[in-house]
Symmetry: C2
Subunit: 267 residues, 2 copies
């Protein structure tokens, strides 16, 4: 079920700037018993991203009401919220007073039972764009091309470097490394998407006294880690136990991070 | 008037990957007396771009028939053709056998009578992405943000550098410099869009014995040029006669380039 500006519909205007230029943002979140998980965190990120692009973000209550309408269809499904700069005539110039288009869609969640996964390195390098770094915007061809690099269903995720050779994350997930008592996640000030689960893990780790470093990560750092983990709102925490020729035993931090997520969800 | 897959409609499925991820390509071209100008060149570029992203391009005749249907509405208007990877469930992975969505829209052409224009330098730097360089894809937030840097209607275009400091072109146009008998246009192998008019000018200049260099261009090269020109399919050729503190007198090359375009259109 899909609501467009609050109305059940399957029609985006082809003049919508989300379609014409990818001029918008989105977030994906999980439902449990038809309730959105970590809603306030997701809303805060969505509002941040929209504001960064100069797109008016609807009030939290408006989006929450849309979610309440669509959620019963797939009580443990996924919600995608898309906001665009709205409908406008041809041309890159923003139109004053154009109204944000909001799309709230509910779909089944493809069961990702795996918790220990195989990953690979992608060949595509993410472009550096500080003006868009961290934002979950609709310009995602890089992710599409990276995900198209493999078909082997036994590989769950691909890791991406940027054009400087820094590791940024997976095609659809954030990355966390653990080594010698230190948790590291790639800095996302030049490219990549800052996910809600990553925020949460950084916050809970620090609250528990586990040092966290947000910094550039090199491929060697990944290879030398004691544990490598992928995060997103639908998968939760995956541990990478195989990456190319490398293998890791399961690490206790995965369960600890899952507990933090559970605590935050219950909060 | 807008045709979606050949049918008059104003509805894009919100699950279309063009909307979800900007996963598609487009081209814009001019009509004269309801006939598309430089059609074979535009089709060739569109097909090239679609193929580069692994999107099946409809046959030339199919798109030409769509254009013939919409063109009478604005006999001297503009056509935008958009191709996307089609409708698919959530997720970056491409679905085998998904059908390309094609959108052919006709709109009035906003009269760009000006031939000598003012331009400015944009602050935004284009990210380097060789996998997408030259392609007119739907991921255009960079162009949107660059175009939002100025509101002064007396400024017709903004010039963009990439993160290496190379000049790439305007927010909606390609750039050509002339100096000491040599025509230079920025190389577009790291970012930017390769337009049909730029192809045509390079081809006609070489055919007339005017040397052409396709190479990295620095800001100093622009400032030191005898003439600086902007090209696209709707504006034709604009000469930049004012750029920041710099001013140029009108240069005879502009009229020569307009003649080449006219010759190619008549061909």
């Amino acid at each position: 079920m899909i609501l467009i500006n609050g109305i059940e519909s399957a029609a985006i205007d082809p003049c919508d700037r989300g379609f014409a230029y990818g001029d918008g943002v989105f977030r994906t979140l999980a439902l449990r018993d038809s309730q959105p998980l970590l809603w306030r965190r997701h809303y805060a990120r969505l509002a941040h991203d929209a504001t960064a692009l100069g797109i008016a973000c609807p009030d939290e209550q408006v989006l929450a009401a849309d979610i309440a309408t669509v959620a019963p269809r797939h009580a443990d499904g996924a919600i995608r919220i898309t906001l665009t700069r709205g409908i406008a005539p041809r041309g890159y110039a923003m139109q004053l007073g154009s109204a944000t288009t909001r799309v709230v869609a509910c779909s089944p969640r493809t069961a990702a039972a795996a918790k220990a996964v195989r990953a690979r390195w992608c060949d595509l390098r993410l472009g550096i764009q500080p003006a868009l770094a961290g934002i979950k915007h609709l310009n995602r061809i890089e992710n599409v091309l990276a995900r198209a690099e493999w078909q082997d269903p036994s590989i769950a995720e691909g890791l991406l470097l940027d054009t400087r050779g820094n590791v940024i994350g997976g095609t659809m997930s954030n990355l966390v490394l653990y080594r010698d008592g230190l948790l590291t996640t790639p800095a996302l000030n030049e490219c990549g998407i800052a996910g809600v689960t990553r925020d949460l893990i950084v916050e809970y780790a620090r609250a528990e006294g586990l040092p966290v470093r947000i910094a550039p990560v090199r491929r060697e750092d990944v290879q030398a880690a004691d544990g490598v983990f992928l995060l997103n709102s639908l998968i939760g925490v995956w541990q990478i136990t195989a990456l190319g020729d490398l293998a890791w035993p399961e690490h206790e931090l995965a369960a600890r991070m899952r507990k933090w997520i559970g605590d935050a969800e219950a909060h």
